[in-house]
Symmetry: C2
Subunit: 238 residues, 2 copies
DNA sequence: CGTAGATTTGAACGTCCTCAAGTCGAGTGG
DNA sequence: CCACTCGACTTGAGGACGTTCAAATCTACG
């Protein structure tokens, strides 16, 4: 295998998206310094670590957590294949969050210096970097909206629908998903307790909006689940 | 006045931060296409508008709001002088949030094409753009943490302390602040109702942690207010 | 002064949290 | 194969906090 990015099945949703063939060839092996395995529950980086590289999640899944100096903490996002990790460190040159693998995973290591240089030479790469940072900003604004305006069941529904959409965009089923995170982690992300998450799962299942068994999830009709967020009245069980 | 950025009192916290004198001279008048006045309660842009420019808040203050297609909506941030507006539009080429002036304000209009070109030529400018995007990402992660893990009074305290710090960074008093946003807007941002915000103000005032009259706010001792977030026991009134 | 909008306060209610117990599932060793 | 154990998850009961609804108060401005 001569190339890394050129032969990667994620290149349609990764940093090289939009690059011409010659550009792609040019950056190949100049962007990714290495691929790094991260075992389940291991940290890719921790808050406070010096920032040196951006990471692209190549296989597996991650969570990012933010802690206050006093110890309060929370999951601030879940990452799937093609998502970037480490953008939080660019400003202060130190990572601001923890990144933890939810399963055995592999990331592409992109030294930030290399990225800077290549972004300088290849306009399409710079553009794509900006787009992905912009996307993360929009994502977090949507999380804020959900945390601030939705009730427990709706938050869970919004989270699962978002996950469903992202899985589908990656070529997986939108209706049959294996959750890689615990109820605890879902609760932390949604600003709810484990108990409330569990109860919300049960209530949604009682309405036949989803079926969940351990970490296997099925969403028979995503549109019906979406109605829960649109404020559309769903007929109660007669 | 020959220059715009070179003579701007915000250049120490704006995009040109870190540029050498020659670089600053070079970008001057090549970065900012115009300064645009936005009257109180007017939109700078709306969700769905075509994205063409980034804006730097030069004078005044803004809020950004995000709405769902169904009409639920929420304030996702407040911007002060030197803050960027419009980064949300880079990815999709359409703005994803509304930006509304909280008072009569002035923004510097930076056409995104110009910014791209200049960022290409001036490495320090590109670096600073990346830093400011990274900063917005970190900011939103912190908002998520606050929304997910803090009680009402703590949220308000965290919000006011953050505002205090940002005012101080801009050369204003950290202890005496005029709020530019309504209780309603604060509540929306914090995921609380107006009534709860009002009650939280009253309770904090009863503890003498702050004094508020209409939109004039005084925080006699920010550290004591900070204790509320650190989980430090504050002596109750005997 | 009078009005409209913003803010504060009160009272009742509901959602979600806390505490507690019980269930389930995977891995381990008998 | 089964019993055991530990952690993850579920379910229940009671209580706390924030919301909802309602009314009073305040402020800005004509």
């Amino acid at each position: 295998m001569r190339s890394i990015c050129g032969a990667c099945n994620l290149r349609e949703m990764c940093l090289p998206l939009g690059l011409s063939a010659p550009e792609l060839e040019y950056i190949d092996r100049r962007l990714v310094a290495a691929r790094r395995k991260v075992a389940r529950a291991e940290h890719l980086f921790r808050s406070g670590d010096p920032f040196e590289s951006i990471f692209v999640l190549w296989a597996g899944s991650f969570k990012t957590c933010l802690f206050t100096p006093e110890g309060r903490g929370q999951v601030t996002g879940f990452q799937l294949g093609g998502d970037l990790l480490g953008l939080d460190g660019i400003d202060s040159r130190r990572h601001q969050v923890d990144a933890v693998a939810l399963e055995d995973s592999v990331v592409c290591v992109i030294p930030y210096e290399w990225l800077q240089d290549l972004a300088n030479e290849v306009g399409a790469l710079r553009q794509q970097l900006h787009r992905m940072m912009s996307r993360e900003i929009v994502r977090t604004h949507n999380v804020i909206l959900h945390l601030g305006s939705l009730a427990a069941e709706q938050r869970l529904a919004a989270f699962l629908l978002n996950l469903s959409n992202r899985m589908q965009a990656r070529g997986f089923s939108a209706t049959s998903i294996t959750l890689r995170m615990s109820r605890e982690e879902i609760g932390s992300f949604l600003g709810l307790t484990v108990e409330t998450v569990s109860r919300s799962f049960s209530k949604l299942q009682a309405q036949r909006l989803l079926f969940v068994r351990n970490r296997d999830l099925r969403i028979p009709d995503p549109r019906r689940l979406q109605h829960l967020l649109d404020g559309v009245e769903t007929e109660r069980e007669s």
